[in-house]
Symmetry: C2
Subunit: 387 residues, 2 copies
């Protein structure tokens, strides 16, 4: 899997670093999606995604698109027009998932946590007792707040109170950086994308569906309300590639699947186990959050137990804002992301530390980020005369 | 734009060769989609797509997905449930577009041409006089048959008989290899993808909509029936990037857009004009078709004037089939595609000769293809004792 290819010099980007080997695979010569060389590459991606999410029978769907397309897959395959959906809101992405569900005719109820908090078990239980929901959705890590929801607790309370309700985990910012035990926790759908913890450029919608979810699809009374996102059309394709033959519904993003294959291989069969990967993300997160705490920076999440391990969202120090901090960090070749949640947009920033950055300490990314942050806060305070 | 990067050794694939520079851009270091370096790259792709399709005011939509997603965009944005659609069928892709339209509630009428033919002007005129259609769709090049429809004629008759009907050109296999004059011919939507004449790996849905089409969208009575494919959600994003700022609806496939930028630049500002590009495709096509004729091979298209210039579909010689031909060509490092149209699937094969293969004679791709085909037919006939 090694190669002489080295990507161009660049700053450390906020979201994720991509390995040279993965980028080299993205530059693979043009291959037909039905060629005998490509079929096992696609097939193995399907199998390795199962390993990554700790499931035996979950059905992967790998479709050209962004993470958002996963919402359309849930809304158009699993919810029939007029049915009810319960959306747990821990940031920006809850609102958007609700919009998507409504676009396909669902009746949506949102439970909104205060900024920096997650919806509580008591709130979920109460809502599920009040009404019959076809799906319950939550954002595992909402990148707009850095809040980590307790996926295991949510699945447990949902299954206990309303056994038929499909449990939908939006894991775009969580898969491969946060622990997700698809079978053990009894999740029905995980939605993700390649460009975060999965360590691959963006452009592939990555979804995993339980057999129960597929059964619900099979028993719909009305037709699926999408064409491109229809699992009925994609299921035979995924099965064909997994079992060694090609089938066509729409052209897969061939190069990106070569790249994804390299990254999945390092996640599932690289030097470290999945458990170790999660542990290293927790350790990396602690280091960044401790350093921020030592600098007097306040986290957006109100509770450390509800904080993402692949990213950190921090309020700017009193008296400083984005213009004081981001350009200074950029000069040190460190890219961070500004605020995203509309209510606090100008007041905070986000640091990504998932994937290679967390797992491969020899790169020194974390040292660079922490040192850069320390210097920047000191310099920005001095420049503004802020204590 | 030059680079030291050389892609790995490979056979000549059927669909398209991708330039080293384009693949190198696909291996660009990870960049945030809102980074100041990326914004103009996306913005320029939007502008260069307009140039490629010869339009001033057409609105591009560049969305992570395959070409198929373009059908969903037409069906969910421009056709309201219960409205009528006229699909001109010149091969496999007509049936699929019809399926897609029906998935979103359209009432579809298909006019089916015999295999190898296109729908005639008289048939179109008669259909448009009989009923009121919201959209008329046609496949410019149906890759399952190699039939090239006369886009200019179709647009003319449609506008003359039914001025309000939206004219939808499916150009996945045609854009940048066949002449398309969006403004002059008065087309409303062109649907395409990156992986054919546009010379880039697959994974980006490429769509161009007229201001009239956007106006029809604006005046819908019912909501758009998709979320991910909704132009109302994408329009502000495309405008933001074009005018130099970032906006977010769903993550763009950043690396692929870097790659697409390099390819579009060579199409619109490379050594040869668009007119010359079309001319070179016609010349390449003539060479391949003449060579096939000299070998006694029969084309699937019934008329040379209705034959694609970026590909050639040929029946196997009497007494020979795929197993006799494809492996022999493969040994000569030439990849061709088997049949796709279900009625004649095992009876014919397809050769791609678009993009670099047609435009850059110094590569010698055409010589290699033609010589390989000549040798293969001779060898296969000898092996089977066929005259």
């Amino acid at each position: 899997m090694s190669t002489q290819f080295k990507q161009a010099e660049h700053k450390i980007p906020g979201p994720i670093e991509v390995a040279d080997e993965v980028l080299y695979a993205n530059a693979h010569p043009s291959m037909s999606h039905v060629s005998p060389e490509f079929i096992p590459v696609f097939g193995e991606c399907i199998k390795m995604l199962r390993e990554t999410l700790l499931t035996k029978a979950g059905q992967p769907f790998l479709i050209a698109g962004s993470g958002t397309l996963g919402w359309d897959q849930v809304a158009s395959n699993l919810v029939e027009p007029g049915e009810e959906a319960l959306v747990l809101h821990s940031g920006y992405f809850g609102d958007s998932f609700a919009d998507c569900l409504e676009a396909y005719g669902a009746k949506v109820t949102q439970i909104k946590a205060p900024i920096g908090a997650a919806v509580t078990e008591a709130q979920i239980e109460k809502a599920l007792k009040r009404s019959k929901y076809k799906v319950l959705t939550f954002t595992h890590v909402d990148t707009s707040t850095g809040v980590l929801s307790n996926a295991k607790m949510i699945a447990q309370v949902s299954r206990r109170v309303s056994p038929d309700t499909l449990i939908i985990l939006d894991g775009v910012c969580a898969v491969a950086s946060e622990e997700i035990r698809f079978d053990d926790w009894d999740i029905d759908v995980v939605i993700s994308a390649t460009q975060k913890g999965l360590g691959t450029p963006p452009g592939l919608s990555v979804v995993l569906a339980s057999q129960y979810a597929l059964n619900v699809l099979e028993n719909r009374k009305t037709p699926v309300t999408s064409y491109y996102a229809s699992w009925k059309r994609w299921l035979p394709i995924m099965k064909a590639y997994e079992f060694g033959s090609a089938a066509y519904f729409a052209t897969p993003p061939v190069n990106l699947i070569y790249a994804f294959h390299v990254s999945l291989k390092s996640i599932t069969h690289g030097g470290i186990s999945l458990e170790e990967r999660f542990h290293l993300h927790r350790e990396a997160s602690k280091r960044v959050k401790q350093a921020a705490f030592d600098l007097g920076l306040k986290q957006v999440p109100l509770d450390l137990d509800y904080s993402a391990n692949g990213m950190t969202a921090l309020y700017y120090p009193e008296g400083l804002d984005a213009d004081d901090i981001i350009p200074l960090l950029m000069k040190k070749d460190i890219v961070i992301a500004g605020g995203l949640h509309k209510d606090i947009k100008g007041k905070y920033f986000r640091i990504g530390h998932m994937g290679l950055t967390a797992v491969d300490g020899s790169r020194g990314d974390l040292d660079k980020i922490i040192q850069g942050l320390q210097e920047t806060i000191r310099e920005a305070k001095a420049a503004k005369g802020v204590q």
